[in-house]
Symmetry: C2
Subunit: 478 residues, 2 copies
């Protein structure tokens, strides 16, 4: 029924998931490629998603005492180099500014790949006493990492993110904040993005450069691959030692401060697309959708149709993000567009509906269609949007739960990873060598050591057979 | 009465306005200097001002149909060079990235000083027909200009701003949007920042690199100097020609598109400080203040004091941005801090006040103190905040109006600029040579050819005596 012009070029997701993904981001006009190699353009429909993510997440941050700041874009080479592990982790992928104002610079400065070093430099100046602690700062900004292969929203040389950087009196305080922010992320993904995640700890190999421990939330995409969706790091006092962040404690002695950092990025837009999307395009959870309901007038030239649409938008749907599509295009085209853009509801209003005091309401997620009395919309639509939000989470959760396997033998482990999309739970000895072998054999990596369901399922490492130390969730990842 | 610890280091503004300014930005903890030469750190109190500016302005933008996007941080040298005037204007002050991912780049890329070139590149791809027009895009981001001398918020190598970039069918449409956005800025400064401005057109010398006309809003700081507070540019079809932005018109023929750009930056924070501040620190207009009222408990250890403060905040002041300062410091210290940070109102509540069902309300702008019944706060405070907002604008307007002079003879013109802080209205022949002479003689520059009050006051140029073409407002500027 829907005019397929807008969607005819979308590859089926079952045929070629990667191509489906790039088709959808282009056809839904979320992004465009730029003349700047490896960098992408966020078009209005894509940037609006980021604005909504920012708005909802920022509110959650501030409720926990976070204050926003803005640090310089540049980091002098000497400052970057103070923490050994950190510089080793990032130096290979930074971009260097070597000329400015028509002159060669005395010292190279890099475009920030992340801002730990700048925050350390600030904290060293701000913090003198335990009374100056804690500091719970965050910034929303863009960062640059010189990636070789790039993909819209998932990997690009510049991306948008937030990075929280905190400093505390004790290791325990730092650990508490690290976990608190991981929970903020997990709750946000669950409640607003309708994306279930697995919370856990990263192995040493996958840990952030310079961290004592890195916690992660791992989401599963429609194709069974993992997307690391948010990380939270406890730095202990490693950075404080390297950068000299000391304070006079309650005991009147000098101590190193303890730090954390945590971030999510525009990768979350990639997650939204790959968790909820279908062969008609995007499917957006109502909480995050820039438009929650599109009203499509039928036979809009007929008297009273547009008036009723407007009245419905203003009166019955006040408080809902609603758009009336009164453009000159055919209803079929408008239907296809609503589907491609993933707006949760379509409301069709034509002369016959008006005569009956009704309208047709179509859900984007299930394509379900129902007739609703116009005077019932006011209470029905907000309730329906919440139901859609919940249903989308439930479907994603069911997909995640039904795509996690267990293995105790290596052959079985490899077979599952080869044949079935999803994650595998298996025991691990704790040695990086086994992670490397598994990656070489299967392309899967250790996603995390989960907080929940971590009871041993065998006493041997899935790879080398030596005594197992941890249960690990393995998966192929974006 | 107030504990002066926090303010004792503030230089008097009448003694040394520049030093007063840097004292205030530091003592009010708006910013900090960084290890990155010429770049500043926005601390929470400073960044909160920018967040409020963004929030209020973005709403005004969207009401006129603006859509937000995000463009890459980098511009390849070849793309920057396509529009001759533009590259000449910006090339001397850009920062160049020459190495990335461990390799020397084949082509230098600059960190954006402004993004006209990137938007042109995008629009060339997006626009084919008149049906694709107009596009009204904006982005909030940071830009880099390699300044030699810097000053907090006013001039730094990196600053935060928004840049709107639009594309239209006709020159008239572009002109209308250029003026519309100038009015959005002027209204925002007037209604939310309580800052009066003079709207006008820039002379060719002061025009944006590549523009056909540049409009400006000029504000006057407390010391009589001008701060260019927002600009809006009509590009005609110059960029479209250079970048090949063509569309098929209603006449079925190919046409060049017409463009505009417009921006305001974190300079506005500098304007807020220098228009409203006094010798006790910042004075913030209520609409933009992160905290609108601070409740200071008196004898807070006494039973019922903190409870009454909390109840007042939650019930009587719901809807107001309120903070209870229940820290361990003395009331005097808290008073001085409220003054330094510029929060519009202080509400003192102690045991005696509670017994009388009262509190003491102190205005930051006038230091006026009054006793108000606790049960009257709910209706009184919102009204008082609006009154303060209006009074602050009125005072700034009076200062502006009373600091504009007129001159018809050059000696008189120079004398005024030498002796009196403020602007001078004088006639001009239209030749850049006279602007250069005036600048050399007085350090003043042409601020704008005002839209209002532009009737000739003489028929001779103030400088060369040749026939006058325009009335110009001259002033020394930041």
């Amino acid at each position: 029924m829907a005019d397929k012009k807008m969607v005819e070029q979308v590859t089926s997701m079952d045929e070629d998931f990667a191509k489906w993904y790039t088709d959808v981001v282009k056809k839904a006009e979320l992004m465009d490629y730029s003349s700047v190699k490896g960098c992408m353009i966020f078009l209005p429909a894509g940037y609006a998603l980021w604005e909504n993510i920012q708005g909802l997440l920022d509110k959650r941050f501030k409720a926990t005492g976070v204050e926003n700041v803005y640090m310089p874009l540049f980091i002098p080479e000497s400052l970057l180099q103070k923490e050994k592990d950190h510089v080793e982790g990032f130096a290979p992928e930074v971009a260097w500014v070597t000329e400015g104002g028509g002159e060669k610079l005395e010292e190279r400065i890099c475009v920030r790949p992340t801002s730990e070093t700048l925050f350390c430099d600030l904290y060293r100046n701000l913090i003198h006493s335990y009374r100056d602690l804690p500091r719970i700062y965050n910034q929303w900004c863009s960062v640059v990492r010189w990636e070789k292969t790039t993909r819209p929203f998932l990997r690009s040389r510049e991306f948008l993110w937030q990075e929280g950087h905190t400093v505390h009196e004790t290791l325990e305080d730092a650990e508490e904040r690290t976990k608190q922010m991981l929970n903020v992320y997990a709750d946000f993904l669950k409640e607003d993005l309708a994306i279930p995640t697995i919370k856990g700890k990263k192995t040493e190999k996958e840990r952030f450069a310079g961290a004592v421990s890195t916690y992660t939330i791992e989401a599963m995409m429609h194709d069974g691959k993992a997307l690391q969706s948010g990380t939270s790091h406890n730095f202990g006092d490693g950075f404080a030692k390297a950068y000299g962040i000391e304070y006079t404690g309650r005991d009147n002695k000098q101590h190193n401060a303890f730090q954390t950092s945590w971030g999510v990025s525009t990768r979350l837009i990639g997650a939204l697309i790959m968790v909820h999307g279908d062969n008609d395009g995007l499917v957006l959870p109502p909480h995050i959708a820039p438009v929650q309901a599109v009203i499509v007038p039928i036979q809009q030239q007929k008297e009273g149709v547009l008036d009723t649409c407007r009245k419905t938008a203003e009166e019955s749907l006040a408080g809902i993000r609603v758009k009336i599509d009164d453009s000159e295009r055919s209803p079929g085209f408008k239907f296809a567009e609503q589907e491609m853009r993933g707006f949760p509801l379509r409301i069709e209003i034509g002369p016959r509906d008006i005569a009956n005091g009704e309208c047709v309401v179509v859900r984007r997620d299930t394509h379900e269609k129902e007739t609703v009395k116009l005077d019932a919309l006011k209470s029905y639509i907000p309730e329906l949007l919440e139901r859609i939000q919940g249903d989308m989470y439930d479907r994603a959760k069911k997909h995640l739960d039904s795509s996690i396997y267990e293995a105790v033998e290596y052959e079985e482990f490899k077979k599952i990873l080869d044949e079935k999309p999803g994650f595998v739970r298996a025991m691990w000895c704790g040695e990086q060598e086994c992670e490397d072998i598994i990656k070489a054999d299967t392309t899967a990596t250790s996603r995390c050591m989960p907080f929940e369901g971590s009871d041993p399922i065998s006493d041997k490492c899935i790879c080398c057979g030596k005594p197992a130390k941890h249960l690990v969730i393995w998966g192929k990842a974006y």
